[in-house]
Structure formats: structure tokens, C-alpha cells
């Protein structure tokens, strides 16, 4: 992993380097994805990053959110306990532990401008927009294009260049 090379990363002790990279990637996704204006209640509304399930980032994500801006907005971390409680989320990280509630979370987030980010094999096919996987010890991601189209989010084509594209129900 190349955590040390990433811009602005503050190394927190005790966090798995893989998850530091993933936290950085989540921040980078927000640079290559555009949210519609309706996704924000007001001009100054914060950019809300939600985490469903067991937080694997430790303090790292919290510190990163405090240190950075997201689409010129300040960031806010929210922990999701009930799958239906997704209003206001702009990014939803679904931890590997949430496989049981995955269907509910995906259907609640579907057709909304919420960038769902999965961290487990098969999440992409299940309707999560972006799903991490490991390829030759590097963190990579797949994108479910059909789900992206339904979400109303705009993905920068450069992002697609790096991703593995998955179709719903079928892994390519």
C-alpha cells in the first residue's frame, strides 16, 4: 500500500493501511462525482458521509473529514443504525459487516443521489454504486453503471477508465 504517498494524509496510529487508502479513495470519489443541487438543503448545508455497520477506519476517516472540504462544503460523519434513515447522506459506506442488511440499504439508497460505497465482494452486483476490491495487493474498485444511471449522480468518465464495470446480478 502506498499510503505515505497520498496527498495530505495524516497517519493515525492503529488503523489498517488498507483502510487509510480506502478512506482517501472515498474522498477522491467525491472529486470525480457530481451531486445535483437538490441533494443539499441549503447553500451552506454540509457534505454528509454516512457509515453503515462496523467502522473500519478508526479515527482516520473522522480526521480526514475534518481536514478536507468536499465540493467546497465542510464534511460531516454520520453513523447509520437504521437502514431507512438515509436522508441527507451524500456518501454511504456499507461495511462488510452489513451483508445481512445490504438489500434494505441498497433499496433505500436507490434512485437517490447517494454515492453508495461497498467493501465486500458481490456488493457491486447487488446494486452498490462503487465497490472496493483488492487486485495484486492494490485497492481497486468496480462501478455498477446501471445503478449509477438511476442515482442521478454524474460520474467523471476518467473515473470509469480506472474501474471495473459490473452489471446488476452479473459480474463481468
Amino acid at each position: 500500500m502506498c499510503v505515505a504517498q497520498l496527498a495530505g494524509a495524516r497517519v493515525s496510529a492503529g488503523v489498517d493501511p488498507e483502510y487509510r487508502v480506502k478512506a482517501e479513495f472515498i474522498e477522491r470519489f467525491t472529486q470525480f462525482v457530481s451531486w445535483p443541487n437538490e441533494a443539499f438543503a441549503t447553500q451552506n448545508a454540509p457534505f454528509v458521509l454516512c457509515v453503515a455497520g462496523q467502522n473500519p477506519f478508526g479515527d482516520y476517516l473522522d480526521e480526514l473529514i475534518k481536514a478536507r472540504t468536499f465540493n467546497l462544503r465542510r464534511g460531516q460523519l454520520r453513523v447509520i443504525r437504521i437502514p431507512g434513515d438515509l436522508d441527507g447522506c451524500h456518501v454511504l459506506f456499507i461495511a462488510a459487516s452489513e451483508r445481512g442488511r445490504l438489500g434494505a440499504l441498497v433499496s433505500n439508497a436507490a434512485r437517490k443521489p447517494i454515492l453508495t460505497v461497498g467493501d465486500s465482494s458481490g456488493y457491486g452486483r447487488a446494486g452498490v454504486l462503487v465497490n472496493f476490491y483488492i487486485h495484486e495487493r492494490n485497492v481497486r474498485f468496480e462501478i455498477n453503471l446501471s445503478a449509477v444511471k438511476l442515482s442521478g449522480l454524474k460520474f467523471n468518465s476518467k473515473l470509469l477508465k480506472l474501474a471495473r464495470i459490473v452489471e446488476p446480478g452479473v459480474s463481468r
Binding site: 504517498q5 487508502v21 472529486q31 470525480f32 476518467k158 477508465k161 480506472l162
Partner: protein, 464 residues
């Protein structure tokens, strides 16, 4: 040096310089502008390339995909002027590369601003890799400047060729244009030279023109008309004078002959005359002789002018002749108190008209007596190389310098007529007779005072 250049050369130079300076200035400005824009275009191309590659590689750096970054840079192989390309992280670590990257310059890759620098045969473009305000690293591109240099060379070469062509054109133009001005001037000059050299006063400046040179030619022609008119008048006046003199001298000669005969008859019967009447007869005879000399002079001039004087050539000794004349003029010499000396080294004999040469030496001696102020007069006679030389030298006041050139002209005199008598024909007759004998005569003032008249005669007339 400059002054010796002809009008034609000067005009050509002026026109050539003027045309050349303006045209070369125009070419130089254009070429300078083109070279600048050529370089500007090249730099702009490098900057655009840097911007495109860095934008395209931003996502690769954002998500740390080295393979994809290498693929991205690999697409640059389509352009063979790109020597290398490399991506560096903001910490200065190489992220991906294409070709053989140079060791990066210290400031370049880390600079957050695009930097372009020509480094030998390379244009190095450092372009920040940025997306959405976050800088992920820097692109380092090396572009060959060979293309730019080749185009610059071609442009400079074509400019030099154009400049040379322009210089040639300017020269042709200058040579052609100068004629517009110089030709009429040269034509006029040629006309003036023709008049001066040939003495042909009927020549006129040709080609009427409406410009200043035309005015000059018109003025010149009017001037020539006036000159011709005055020459005609003068010729006419001279002819009328000669005609008058011819008639007058002949008309005077007839009664003079009767008068002389009468006086001679009277002298033959003078035995009964008293002293007083005898003195009147002597005076009358003397004045009649003087009148006869004057009339003879006039007749001679008339003959000389008409060219009807005949020479009676016979062996003549100049020394004997000069001695005779000296004896005959003894009373005049005595009266003027001048002493005459004839210098010679023996007889100088030639085929000449004795009576005419008598006239020559007599006239020269009269002259010397008249202006000699009572000082000694020397006649030196010598011969050398087939020519005889007679120098008549006085020690008087000399000839006024402004008149010396004209003393042999008819009716000219060395001094004003108020103080000295005579018709002013003596030296004219001298020159005319000497020239009829094929000789020369000249007058000069001597350094120690007085004038010297030198006559040179061939010992015999060249056979005609």
C-alpha cells in the same frame, strides 16, 4: 572623393539606399514577428500538451493506478517529437514514465505552476497534475525542439533570399529611376560640351519637357539664341569695319600719291626757297611720309584679313636686314635716347619676303622705342634646328599683364591711346606676316623689367 561621383552614381546610391532601407526594414519586421510567433506557437503547443496529459493522468494519480498512468503516458508514442514523459508525486517520487526521463530539475516538478523551459535541444514542460483543486503531482514532458529549429532555419533562409532579391530589385529600380532625372541633365551637358568643343553655336538643347530641366533647357536655348544674335551683330560690325577700312585706305592712297608727287616736284625746285619755306616743305614731306605709312598699314591689314597678301620669297639675311633697319631708324633712336644693339653670331639666311620681314622687325623696333623709356634695346638673332630666332628686347615698363594675351590682336594696344599714338595695327601685322611665313611670335615680360618679343621662323617655307 564624394564630389567626384557623377550625378548618375549619386542618384542611384540615394534611390538604392532609400528603397533598400525601407524594404529591408519591412522584411526584418515581418521576419522578426514571424520568428516570434513561431516560437510562441511552439511553446503554446507544449503547454497544451502538458495540460491535456496532466488532466488525463489526474485520475490515475488520484487512485494511485500506476499501470493506468503508464498506459496514459504510453499513448504519447504517437508523437515522435516527445522524447520522454514522467509523472511525479508531490513528494517528488516518480509515479510513471515514458521514454527516458531526464533527471528532473529541482524546482520544476514541485512547482504548482506550469513551467516551460528550453534546455538545449529540449523543451521541458512541467505541468501540475490537478483535479478539482487538489494537486496530485507534476508532469515532466521533454519535447524535441528540432522541428522548431528547422522551421526557424527555413524562415531565416527564406528571409535572406527575399532580402537579397529585394536588394537586386532595389538596384534595378534605382538604376532605372535615376535615368528619369539624370538623362535630361546629361543630354543638356552633352549639348553644352558639343558647343564648347566644336564651337557650333547652332546646336540647341533637345526634347522639350515640362519640368525644371525643361525650363533650364529653354533658358539655355534662349541664351544661345542671344549669343548667336550678338555674334552675328559682331561679325557684321567687323565686316563693315573691314569694308570701311579697305575702302578708306584705297581712297586715301590715291590723293596721297598725288600729294607726294607734288611735294617731290617742289623739292626738286627748292633752290629759290628761303629757309622758312624750306622748313615748311620738310615738315610737309615728313608728315606725308607718316600718312603714307599709316595708309600702308591699313592696306596691309585689309590684305591680311582677306588673305590676299602675296609673299615674294628670296634668300634674305636677317642680320644684315636688322642692321639696315637700325641705321634707318637712327634718328628715331636718337630722339628717344635709346641705344640699339644687334647681337648675332654670323649671318642667318633663309627663304623669306625681305620687305615683309623688314616690316616685322621695324614694327617691333618702333614698339621697343615707343615703350623703351630711353633704355637700351637689344635685337638678338640666332638660328638652330632649321629655325631662325629674332628676339627684340627693351627695358621699359613691360606689358600690363591683363593685356599680354591680346597684344597681337588687331586694334589692340598695350597702353591707352591717350598717351601713345598709332592705329594699334603694328603687332597684328607682325603676327600675320610671321604666321604667313609659317613661324610663331610671342610676347613676355622679363623678370628684370621690360618686354621681349620672340619671332621664330623656319629657314624655308614648308612646300605646299
Amino acid at each position: 572623393m564624394k564630389r567626384s561621383l557623377s550625378i548618375r552614381t549619386r542618384l542611384t546610391l540615394v534611390i538604392f539606399t532609400g528603397v533598400l532601407i525601407s524594404l529591408v526594414a519591412a522584411v526584418a519586421v515581418t521576419a522578426g514577428y514571424e520568428l516570434r510567433s513561431l516560437r510562441h506557437e511552439f511553446l503554446a503547443g507544449g503547454r497544451l500538451l502538458g495540460r491535456m496529459v496532466s488532466e488525463y493522468a489526474a485520475v490515475d494519480m488520484a487512485f494511485e493506478d500506476r499501470e493506468e498512468a503508464a498506459t496514459t503516458l504510453g499513448k504519447l508514442e504517437n508523437r515522435d517529437d516527445i522524447r520522454y514523459a514522467a509523472l511525479y508525486t508531490i513528494d517528488g517520487v516518480q509515479f510513471a514514465s515514458y521514454g527516458q526521463p531526464l533527471l528532473r530539475a529541482t524546482a520544476g516538478p514541485l512547482s504548482p505552476l506550469p513551467t516551460l523551459a528550453i534546455d538545449g535541444d529540449l523543451l521541458r514542460v512541467y505541468y501540475p497534475v490537478v483535479h478539482a483543486g487538489t494537486r496530485f503531482g507534476t508532469l515532466d514532458l521533454g519535447l524535441s525542439t528540432a522541428g522548431l529549429r528547422a522551421r526557424t532555419r527555413a524562415r531565416v533562409l527564406s528571409t535572406v533570399v527575399v532580402a537579397l532579391a529585394i536588394a537586386g530589385l532595389a538596384l534595378v529600380l534605382a538604376v532605372w529611376l535615376q535615368r528619369l532625372i539624370s538623362r535630361p541633365i546629361l543630354d543638356l551637358t552633352a549639348t553644352v560640351r558639343k558647343i564648347a568643343e566644336e564651337g557650333n553655336y547652332t546646336v540647341r538643347a533637345s526634347a522639350p519637357r515640362a519640368d525644371e530641366i525643361g525650363e533650364l533647357a529653354d533658358g539655355f536655348n534662349s541664351m544661345m539664341e542671344e549669343v548667336a544674335r550678338q555674334r552675328d551683330q559682331a561679325d557684321h560690325a567687323i565686316r563693315a569695319r573691314d569694308e570701311f577700312l579697305s575702302v578708306a585706305s584705297h581712297e586715301l592712297n590715291t590723293p596721297l600719291t598725288s600729294l607726294k608727287l607734288g611735294l617731290q616736284s617742289l623739292a626738286l625746285e627748292s633752290d629759290g626757297l628761303d629757309a622758312r619755306r624750306m622748313r615748311f616743305l620738310t615738315i610737309a614731306t615728313k608728315q606725308a611720309e607718316r600718312l603714307e605709312r599709316l595708309v600702308a598699314e591699313l592696306l596691309d591689314v585689309t590684305r591680311l584679313r582677306r588673305g590676299t597678301m602675296q609673299l615674294a620669297l628670296a634668300p634674305t639675311d636677317l642680320v644684315e636686314l636688322a642692321t639696315d633697319i637700325g641705321t634707318r631708324l637712327a634718328p628715331d633712336l636718337e630722339r628717344s635716347k635709346s641705344r640699339l644693339e644687334v647681337e648675332h653670331e654670323g649671318a642667318v639666311v633663309g627663304e623669306w619676303d625681305r620687305s615683309r620681314l623688314d616690316q616685322v622687325i621695324t614694327n617691333l623696333l618702333f614698339n621697343a622705342i615707343k615703350f623703351g623709356e630711353g633704355k637700351p634695346i637689344v635685337v638678338a638673332i640666332s638660328a638652330a634646328a632649321g629655325r631662325a630666332r629674332v628676339v627684340v628686347r627693351d627695358h621699359g615698363r613691360g606689358i600690363p599683364p591683363e593685356r599680354i594675351a591680346r597684344v597681337f590682336e588687331a586694334y589692340e594696344r598695350g597702353v591707352s591711346s591717350a598717351h601713345y599714338g598709332g592705329l594699334g595695327l603694328g603687332l597684328f601685322i607682325v603676327r600675320s606676316v610671321v604666321e604667313r611665313h609659317g613661324g610663331t611670335v610671342r610676347a613676355e615680360n622679363m623678370p628684370d623689367g621690360g618686354a621681349a618679343f620672340t619671332v621664330e621662323l623656319p629657314l624655308s617655307l614648308p612646300s605646299r
